[in-house]
């Protein structure tokens, strides 16, 4: 316990307190931090780029997370059946999520979506002329959501484990009562799976708020074109390490902590209405 505690205070708690203090200062990495009170926080809300970064991130969380979870659940249900070669499919679907956050994939992704890239050319076969997605400020968000959805392997594996836990007697009883596929899904699978859905929703939402590497690589560290990929953490990074405004960046970091904290609390509150634990009913 003691080594862990030492690590916690030196590497986690200490830096957090330091960053909280820095968020009330003007600190440029070089000189001593200068106390400015709430100025950083006040400036943030008058900063059009800050507002833009919130818009981009919120859109990403609101669209990307549900689509990713839906894809993960759909594939998990397909893979829950007993078929030949299942092990291969499970690995194949899980593989992308192992590499999705890596720098190399972001580079490949960018190469696929640039003008005259694979995606552009494939779409042209079907007569769709979108040009390169990377340069089009309206197409960068769909591209990022696709990248997120493509890496659905993590939640998929957890869904798969959850699906295994649903007692088959329930489905058999429902079939006797004449329930169809949709009814079984709505009345048995979803309620029985709700704790797992809740867990995945929570983890993916928190994860989505922190997307950074792919945005950094694909936009070349700028959040461009025209701020369309200015994710919150990327903007935080630009302020802290690009403009030497660590106090400002610290304030942003703490607002992110508060926002994610509030959303977590809200999700937990709402979960009482729709998450059913097996212990409740038995």
């Amino acid at each position: 316990m003691a080594p862990w505690l030492a690590g916690f205070f030196a590497l986690t708690f200490g830096p957090m307190i330091a960053s909280l203090y820095l968020s009330f200062t003007d600190y440029d990495l070089f000189g001593a931090p200068e106390f400015t009170g709430l100025e950083n926080y006040q400036r943030l809300f008058a900063d059009p780029q800050f507002i833009q970064s919130i818009k981009v991130t919120t859109l990403y969380v609101l669209l990307g997370t549900p689509i990713k979870l839906a894809a993960a659940l759909a594939v998990a249900m397909l893979l829950n059946a007993r078929r030949r070669g299942l092990g291969f499919y499970r690995s194949a679907f899980y593989a992308p999520s192992l590499v999705a956050a890596s720098v190399s994939i972001a580079i490949v992704w960018k190469a696929m979506f640039i003008d005259d890239g694979v995606v552009d050319r494939s779409l042209q076969i079907f007569g769709i002329e979108l040009g390169g997605w990377v340069g089009n400020q309206n197409m960068t968000m769909p591209m990022f959501i696709l990248l997120a959805v493509w890496a659905f392997g993590g939640p998929m594996v957890i869904f798969l484990a959850g699906l295994k836990q649903v007692p088959t007697e329930l489905y058999e009883a429902a079939e006797v009562d004449g329930a169809g596929r949709i009814r079984k899904f709505r009345n048995i699978t979803l309620p029985m799976l709700s704790p797992v859905i809740f867990f995945n929703l929570l983890m993916e939402t928190i994860g989505s708020f922190q997307v950074f590497a792919s945005a950094f690589i694909i936009s070349g560290g700028t959040g461009g074109p025209a701020g369309s990929t200015l994710f919150y953490t990327l903007y935080l990074y630009i302020r802290g390490f690009g403009d030497f405004r660590m106090g400002y960046a610290s304030a942003m970091a703490w607002l992110l902590v508060i926002a994610v904290g509030l959303i977590t609390i809200l999700l937990f509150r709402s979960s009482k209405a729709w998450v059913h634990y097996q212990g409740d009913s038995r």
Partner: protein, 442 residues
């Protein structure tokens, strides 16, 4: 080079001769570095001590190759010094340096830019090289005015490596394919914009569409040069902005007709073409840039020839261009081997062979010795020829840049992209840039 600078060189060299005499004795003792009494071959670096020197620069593979060659020569001359080189692209370079500066671990020698020198220098991150001038650092060939650009408050934080000045590049092949005459050297800014509009109309039916120009108003340095051209102060001595929002709006409005009529390379296309630009992708006939970009332009575009014109004239009819040090070399304040660092900077600045290795890829070399070995033909000759041809109209001095210039330059570029994508108006550009600059320069 221009005569004013040469006369200053002479004046300074008499001062340096005294210092050089002293250092020759030391050079004799040190035993190394004695090929023909070349400038900068003396020093107080202890030849018996094994020294490791970290050196870093921004640039591409081409520059890295040239640095490697120069470093090999340096290591031959100073066998006891081992150089550990590193380089990054421009954006990553400054992020890495900022992080190092915060940790007091800057490299021994680092390539420095005018935009960032006060950022680092005035915060005590850079070594004051003044004590080494005349010793390891032979600055006898460096014009005073140029040397001054590396000084802050009388302390020498960087040694200019080369000079450049802005130019209007054009690709004769594209101009011809548009059925146009090249822009003239004596045009006004408005005449240039009119020319670009005509070029865009001529290129509209081509595939890909050809344009006369891109949005050059998005280059902060060009705006700075424009202000200087109009005789207007750019930054005050206290590092405050000396121009107004209206000046910015007027400048951006210069190409507003082109923006509205889609008569210049669209921002979207520019993003798609990255890392090339519209000019290097052969989709724009002209581009403003620093004259040392010529070699890169030729390599990237594959064009047979690229011609250079001076900037359009200002409202007074005068050109009023300035020379800017295209880059400097500095030493980290935390270096444990300041003499070796100074010796390295000296070697890169003055050595004739190093001059031949770099050519004009970093700008026209700042010292005559380094220039002396350059090719009399080809790219180097063209760049030097350009600077010599227009030297009489390169009359102004580079504005002194405030601390935080790097940030406001990046912000200008970002807003230009937003403007190009039609997300903001020129008025919003101006007001957003000013509120950002207030914080960055404050």
């Amino acid at each position: 080079m221009n005569s004013a600078r040469l006369s200053k060189t002479k004046r300074l060299s008499s001062v340096a001769a005294v210092a050089a005499a002293g250092s020759l004795v030391l050079a004799a003792c040190s035993g190394g570095a004695d090929d023909g009494g070349e400038p900068g071959s003396g020093g107080t670096v202890d030849p018996d001590e094994q020294i490791s020197l970290t050196v870093t620069w921004w640039g591409n593979d081409d520059r890295a190759e040239r640095y490697e060659q120069a470093i090999d020569l340096f290591e031959e001359e100073y066998p006891n010094i081992t150089v550990q080189p590193a380089f990054q692209a421009w954006e990553d370079y400054w992020t890495a340096r900022a992080t190092e500066a915060a940790g007091q671990s800057l490299p021994d020698v680092l390539q420095m830019d005018l935009s960032y020198i006060s950022e680092f220098g005035s915060r005590g991150q850079l070594l004051d090289l003044t004590p080494y001038v005349g010793g390891e650092l032979d600055m006898s060939e460096m014009p005073d005015s140029l040397l001054a650009s590396g000084q802050i408050g009388g302390e020498q934080f960087g040694i200019p490596q080369s000079t450049n000045t802005l130019a209007l590049f054009y690709n004769p092949a594209i101009v011809e394919s548009l059925g146009m005459e090249p822009p003239s050297a004596d045009q006004t800014w408005q005449e240039y914009v009119d020319w670009a509009a005509e070029a865009a109309d001529a290129g509209a039916s081509e595939d890909p569409t050809l344009y006369g120009t891109g949005d050059f108003t998005g280059v902060l340095w060009l705006f700075v040069q424009h202000l200087v051209q109009e005789g207007q102060e750019v930054f005050t001595e206290d590092g405050e902005i000396a121009f107004s929002e209206q000046d910015v709006i007027d400048w951006l409005n210069l190409v507003q007709p082109l923006r509205e009529a889609d008569q210049m390379l669209p921002a979207e296309r520019a993003t798609q073409l990255e890392p090339l630009g519209g000019f290097t992708a052969n989709e724009a006939a002209t581009e403003f840039s620093w004259d040392n970009f010529l070699a890169g332009y030729l390599a990237d575009s594959g064009a047979e020839t690229i011609e250079m014109l001076p900037l359009p004239v200002g409202s007074s009819g005068d050109r009023n261009q300035f020379f800017k040090p295209s880059m400097l070399l500095s030493a980290g304040a935390n270096t444990e081997n300041p003499e070796a660092a100074a010796a390295f900077i000296d070697f890169i600045t003055n050595d004739a062979e190093v001059g031949a290795i770099f050519g004009t890829s970093r700008g026209v070399p700042a010292t005559e010795t380094a220039r002396s070995q350059l090719d009399v033909e080809g790219v180097d000759a063209q760049v030097i020829g350009y600077e010599e041809e227009w030297a009489d109209e390169i009359t102004e001095s580079t504005p002194v840049l405030p601390q935080g210039f790097g940030s406001i330059e990046a912000e200008w570029l970002r807003l230009a992209e937003e403007l190009g994508y039609g997300n903001i108006t020129v008025e919003e550009f101006a007001s957003q840039w000013f509120s950002e600059a207030e914080i960055s320069l404050g």
